[in-house]
């Protein structure tokens, strides 16, 4: 029992690594994609529209396989599985975050941009000091949804052979002829998401000081 918990905790660490690194890359990348999507220049916004269509229109599990195997078939290039997982997850989540950001940015009244402009703030200052803080408050609930989904989606990493929590649990289950490890994994995911939910609730409360 003890050794089972140890292996499952190791799998959990891998899942958490995927989770943290994906957020680290996808949150800023999503913002860049959102700004590009909102660009008035068709040359920028159109390709990004296509990218969003493809990434959101195909299964993440397929994207994982593609990101890992495509370089091999195309250029005979093979690389680390874990890196492939981070690349695929980051790109996929960045696209979802981008659409959340876009909705948030577009929901800010035009008057805020105008006030910033009339006061002489540059576009950059206006965006980062006036618009973005208000966007963050508005998109927190939707972002929380995505982040919770990400915790559970880390289980997909096993498709290219990364031993995250779910794969570890499955291995243990077949070794022991018992579904117990699978259910224990379920409890692990639940606890992780409990923490995520509590974190978002706290963030929302923290930003509750203004309307």
């Amino acid at each position: 029992m003890n050794s089972l918990l140890v292996t499952m905790l190791k799998g959990t660490v891998t899942s958490l690594e995927i989770f943290c690194l994906t957020l680290l890359f996808s949150l800023p990348l999503g913002l860049i994609i959102a700004v590009g999507r909102l660009s008035k220049k068709k040359l920028i916004s159109s390709p990004i529209g296509v990218l969003l269509l493809i990434v959101r229109g195909t299964p993440l599990i397929l994207q994982l396989i593609f990101v890992y195997f495509a370089p091999y078939y195309l250029f005979k290039l093979s690389y680390d599985r874990f890196t492939a997982v981070i690349v695929a997850f980051s790109l996929n989540y960045a696209c979802y975050f981008a659409e959340i950001y876009r909705g948030g940015i577009q929901s800010i009244p035009q008057g805020q941009y105008e006030a910033a402009k009339v006061l002489g703030l540059t576009k950059k200052q206006g965006f980062f000091r006036i618009i973005l803080p208000q966007v963050v408050k508005r998109i927190l609930p939707a972002t929380g949804n995505e982040v919770i989904t990400l915790v559970k989606d880390t289980a997909l990493a096993q498709v290219i052979g990364v031993a995250e929590l779910f794969r570890v649990a499955q291995n243990a289950a077949s070794k022991q002829f018992s579904t117990m490890p699978i259910f224990i994994a379920g409890v692990f995911y639940f606890i992780m998401n409990w923490v995520v939910s509590a974190g978002f609730a706290r963030l929302e409360k923290k930003l509750d000081y203004y309307r």
């Binding site: 009244p109 008057g111 805020q112 105008e114 006030a115 402009k117 009339v118 006061l119 002489g120 703030l121 200052q125 000091r129 006036i130 803080p133 208000q134 408050k137 000081y209 203004y210 309307r211």
Partner: protein
């Protein structure tokens, strides 16, 4: 020292096929308070938005404190409005303040931060220096008790006074008001008009777009009556409002 603060000549502005401003020319001199009245949709707000660079003009000239913001120039055989360089436009923008109808305060900032923001970010003042200036302005607006409140905790009149302080913090040469009392009840309107009056007493140059006709008559030096993108009548505020000559002006003011 320039006495001419704003010069507008043959200003024209269209939104695609809709011609909002047809041909407008006027001047504002230092210390003058100009009232702009007229029915909704006559182009009053658009005119202010052209002067404050929130809209680009379709044709014409705007000069602010002797600096040309935009003027018509021959380009490839066509007369086109040409704007000043980016730096010069920014320089000119700081000379013109704008107070919005619906305040547009920054909701995530306190009253003090709202007034400090541009002083620190644009004028590059130190926070201490900015705060000192802001506190003086907010005191003038009788808001010293509210400096750490957020906009959502204020009344409409208080919000508008914060936005006036915010505009004044950049020490503009001219302050434009775009229907500053239209979102307020009569009591709060009085509050704001009192503030504008005190600014007029200090010889602040102002352009006030307003539907408060009595206020325009009593406070403004000169007035413009606009309709359908044109200046129908202009002159001393007192006589334009009490003894309008033009039929359209008479009709508009008959209900007053």
């Amino acid at each position: 020292m320039c006495t001419e603060i704003i010069a507008v000549e043959h200003l024209q502005k269209s939104f695609s096929s809709l011609e909002v401003i047809k041909d407008i020319s006027f001047n504002v001199h230092k210390g003058e308070v100009l009232g702009i009245i007229g029915p909704s949709g006559s182009g009053k707000s658009t005119l202010l938005r052209c002067i404050t660079q929130l809209e680009t003009v379709s044709s014409g000239l705007i000069r602010i404190c002797g600096q040309t913001l935009v003027s018509n120039q021959m380009l490839k055989g066509q007369l086109k409005p040409v704007y000043a360089s980016k730096e010069e436009m920014q320089d000119i923008a700081l000379k013109v303040g704008l107070v919005f109808q619906n305040f547009n305060l920054f909701p995530h900032f306190t009253v003090l931060q709202n007034v400090n923001e541009a002083q620190i970010q644009v004028l590059k003042k130190s926070p201490e220096e900015a705060t000192e200036n802001s506190l003086a302005l907010l005191k003038k607006m009788s808001l010293e008790a509210k400096i750490h409140s957020y906009p959502c905790e204020l009344s409409g009149g208080q919000m508008q006074r914060v936005s006036i302080a915010r505009a004044l913090a950049l020490e503009p040469e001219v302050l434009c008001f775009d229907e500053p009392t239209s979102a307020l009840d009569p009591e709060l309107t009085g509050e704001i008009l009192k503030v504008i009056r005190s600014l007029a007493d200090e010889k602040m140059t102002m352009i006030v777009v307003t539907h408060e006709i009595a206020f325009a008559r009593d406070l403004c030096d000169n007035a413009l009556f606009m309709d359908q993108g044109l200046i129908v009548e202009q002159g001393l505020a007192q006589s334009l409002i009490t003894k309008p000559k033009n039929k359209r002006t008479q009709a508009f003011l008959s209900r007053f």
